[in-house]
């Protein structure tokens, strides 16, 4: 079975590689499709504006004090004591005002903007009061009502407000016909908002699916950790597209970066579980650090939080994120597992995007690009989900294969057993046959053979009395009958054996006018009372009877059976042959008779005893019931 599985293995990996390639291709196509295309000639790019950092809520009139001119996009990062907001302003001179609908397009603002034209509010990105509306990724676009643009000078004023002091940004500002700007805005919106909404939704579905998998497969906890990772990522991306937040900005910002930090924590736990390594001390350390850090984020005073807490946490998260990547890398070098390679590629992409975003967060990179980390999410999710599904499928396949192998092995084992059993049975049969043959040969030799030899020698002497020969022939015949009787199934019943013996005995006793008393009681079955034992038993009875008939001069013969206890306490059965003749001497006088009987008794595991009955003798055979 394993041979069948082996060639299938690479196919899974080919599928993963294919999926990765296809997804990467799709992503690059998307990014090309939605990249900042060339704007039409008929729209205007405002490239420079005056800026005055002020908390004023109304557009400036003329150039106020502290105003300076900057080229766009422009960010201010000038300390933490200054205002949250400021005004950008410029004048636009038109010879002829447009005769169709125009609009103003702001692809990047940080965080909120309100746009005024000639003192009139065109629109804004949400509430300016705490908690302020957040336009992390959302492009803003407002149409200009007809007649508002005047021939000659028009004043444009844009209020930008940030969620934290001393930090804000205004990206490019486009002014132009609605039919030009609107599609541009729409495609931007799709990439920066709709696409991220899809990402969040797919991440949540993924997370739920994996969590369910983790709950169902309790032994593979890495599913649960990956589900948590995915949920963190979803939270982080969701933060980017959330405009109106339900919590104070400070709390929201904490939660936002917690998502990043805990994503890394989950990643460490995941990679450990996934690779099946246990590093409890490291995990405890990571967990403790993360928990303390989380607590501190809440305890920091707001300015300190924004100044130190937030960047420190982010840096720590990215640095900690290197560990699982490095760990996977080391493992990959050892195992060359394609699965790990896939994970590494994904991790590398995350790391790259994360580093770029870190540069943005640390104000080392132009903010106009926005955050990139959300975008590789679907790719990674797809790959990892596929990997996990395949891992599951493979496990199921292996289980099936194992089952099949097991069944096959059981069948083989069964066959081998049967074969063994058959061989054993045939061996046993052969052995039984051999034993039986051996026994019959021995019996023939001892019995009929001996009789025939004796008869032959007697017949050769012509002076032998006829009656002597007749007796011998009868003896030989009756011995042969004993042998034949011993072949009858005994059913382990002593009574049956005695019954058959009596059929043979009765005519002889009748002829000699000896009274027969039959006191055969029911006794428990004697285990394994086979032909050999039966023959021994019959021969003992025959011998005993012959002795009585020949030497005892008895007038009565009694056969009795019953249950008895053996000297060692075990239960047994006794069989007595009682005569009223001359006593023990008549038996012992029988020459080999008694010795033969004892030998036979021993052969069937029975005890033979003789005892004086005065008058007569009791021959007692005790057979154990084992």
């Amino acid at each position: 079975m394993t041979q069948q599985l082996a060639p299938r293995k690479p196919r899974y990996h080919r599928r993963i590689t294919l999926a990765t390639a296809v997804t990467a291709l799709l992503l690059s196509l998307l990014s090309v499709a939605f990249s900042n295309g060339e704007m039409n000639q008929d729209s205007l790019l405002i490239s420079r504006m005056h800026f005055n950092q002020t908390d004023a809520t109304l557009p400036p009139v003329g150039l106020e004090e502290g105003t300076a001119e900057y080229s766009l996009p422009h960010e201010w990062r000038n300390g933490y004591r200054k205002s949250y907001a400021g005004w950008y302003s410029t004048t636009l001179t038109l010879e002829v005002p447009p005769n169709r609908l125009w609009g103003i397009f702001l692809p990047n603002v940080r965080m909120n903007a309100a746009v005024y034209l000639n003192g009139e509010l065109l629109g804004h990105g949400g509430r300016f009061e705490e908690p302020m509306a957040r336009n992390w990724t959302r492009p803003l676009y407002y149409t200009i009502p007809n007649g508002l643009l005047l021939p000659g000078e028009n004043s444009i004023a844009i209020r930008i407000a940030s969620t934290r002091p001393g930090k804000g940004m205004l990206g490019e500002v486009y002014l132009g016909p609605d039919e030009t700007l609107n599609p541009f805005y729409e495609s931007r919106f799709f990439v920066r908002v709709t696409l991220l909404q899809i990402v969040v939704a797919s991440l949540l579905v993924c997370s739920l699916f994996l969590a369910l998998m983790g709950l169902l497969r309790k032994r593979e906890t890495f599913y649960l950790w990956f589900a948590a990772m995915t949920a963190c990522w979803a939270a982080f991306v969701w933060n980017l597209i959330m405009v109106d937040i339900p919590l104070p900005t400070r709390i929201w910002d904490i939660l936002r970066i917690l998502a990043i930090g805990w994503f890394v924590v989950c990643m460490i736990f995941f990679i450990h579980r996934y690779l099946g390594v246990t590093r409890p001390r490291l995990e405890r350390g990571v967990l403790t650090t993360a928990l303390i850090g989380t607590g501190l984020l809440f305890l920091f005073p707001t300015p300190l939080f924004y100044r130190f807490g937030l960047p420190l946490w982010d840096v720590a998260a990215v640095v900690a994120g290197i560990y699982p990547g490095w760990f996977a890398f080391v493992n990959y070098r050892r195992t060359r597992s394609r699965e790990l390679l896939m994970l590494l590629i994904c991790g590398g992409i995350i790391l790259l995007f994360g580093l770029l975003d870190l540069l943005t967060i640390l104000d080392l990179r132009d903010k106009s690009w926005g955050y990139l980390l959300p975008y590789p999410a679907p790719l990674l999710m797809l790959i990892v989900s596929a990997m996990m599904t395949l891992r599951f499928v493979r496990a199921a396949d292996q289980a099936e294969a194992l089952n099949l192998t097991l069944e096959q092995r059981i069948a083989e084992k069964g066959q081998a057993l049967e074969e063994n059993y058959r061989r054993l049975a045939s061996l046993q049969k052969e052995q039984v046959l051999a034993e039986e043959r051996e026994r019959i040969m021995r019996d023939m030799h001892d019995g009929i053979g001996g009789h025939l030899v004796t008869m032959l020698s007697l017949v050769e002497h012509t002076d032998t009395p006829r009656q002597r020969i007749v007796d011998l022939v009868r003896e030989a015949l009756s011995d042969l009958r004993l042998m034949i009787d011993s072949f009858e199934p005994s059913d382990d019943d002593l009574g049956s054996v005695l019954g058959i013996f009596r059929s043979r005995l009765a005519p002889i006793l009748e002829q000699q006018q000896i009274e027969l008393r039959w006191q055969v009681a029911d006794v428990p079955p004697i285990p394994q009372l086979g032909p050999q034992k039966v023959l021994h038993l019959l021969r003992i009875l025959q011998e005993a009877t012959t002795n009585v008939l020949k030497h005892a001069g008895a007038s009565r013969l009694t056969f009795s059976t019953g249950e008895t206890a053996l000297p060692d306490g075990a239960s047994g059965v006794y069989l007595q042959v009682i005569d009223n003749g001359r006593g023990i001497a008549s038996h012992q006088g029988g020459g080999h008779g008694l010795k033969n009987m004892r030998r036979r008794a021993e052969a069937i595991g029975a005890e033979l005893s003789l005892e004086d009955a005065e008058p007569g003798t009791i021959l007692r055979l005790t057979i154990p019931l084992v």
Partner: protein, 219 residues
């Protein structure tokens, strides 16, 4: 001996010495006479065609067939002839086969002449001699079946409790007189139980005994 009734005996035995010995033993009895002493099945059939003997004594293994065929022939002819088989060993296989063919007992070839005639006379007097081995065989047939063949055999052999009890005692070697003492019944009752047992086996067996015996692995 005041009886004047003369019973006709047909003897079938292929071994001449034994045939002569048995024939002499029977002929010596005042109430028995040999109607024919033949050596094979064909001759026996010829005799049966012209006469109806009271007793058939037959060997089982004959040169041209089987003694049980002659017993079956009796049934076919509607004769109420009592049949006994003659065997060397009186072993169960042979005796049971004969009993199932309709015989009511067996004689040993080396039985003394008096024993032979005694047995015949007992048979004619309505006694049904049964040996321990026959009883034991019947008892085994009454036991819970171990094979389907036995089951069908047992199904039709329905003996009463008393009959079974009698069989058990016979298997243990008890004589009819002893059994009548043990069971507190007259010897006559024991004899009638035995007769009934034989009838049940006979009714069941006559036609299918050979088949049945083959099924049971007796032949």
């Amino acid at each position: 001996m005041a009886q004047t009734t003369d019973y006709q005996v047909l003897l079938v035995e292929d071994e001449p010495a034994t045939r002569q010995r048995l024939a002499e033993a029977v002929a010596r009895h005042p109430q028995l006479s040999i109607v024919a002493a033949v050596g094979n099945v064909a001759e026996a059939r010829t005799v049966l065609a012209r006469t109806r003997p009271d007793v058939l004594l037959t060997d089982i293994g004959l040169p041209d067939g089987d003694g049980t065929e002659i017993i079956a022939e009796l049934g076919r002819l509607g004769y109420e002839t009592e049949a006994m088989v003659i065997t060397v060993f009186g072993d169960e296989r042979h005796v049971i086969r004969a009993v199932e063919a309709g015989a009511t007992g067996y004689l040993l070839k080396d039985d003394r002449p008096e024993a032979i005639t005694d047995a015949i006379m007992e048979l004619l007097a309505g006694g049904s001699p049964m040996s321990a081995s026959i009883a034991r065989y019947l008892l085994r047939r009454l036991q819970p079946p171990k094979t389907e063949a036995l089951e069908s055999a047992q199904a039709e052999l329905q003996l009463s409790q008393r009959e079974q009890e009698v069989l058990r005692q016979i298997a243990k070697g008890f004589s009819y007189a002893e059994i009548s003492d043990l069971l507190n019944v007259s010897t006559h009752t024991v004899a009638s139980h035995l007769k009934s047992i034989y009838r049940k086996i006979g009714v069941h067996s006559r036609g299918e005994a050979v088949f049945e015996a083959t099924q049971l692995g007796l032949i």
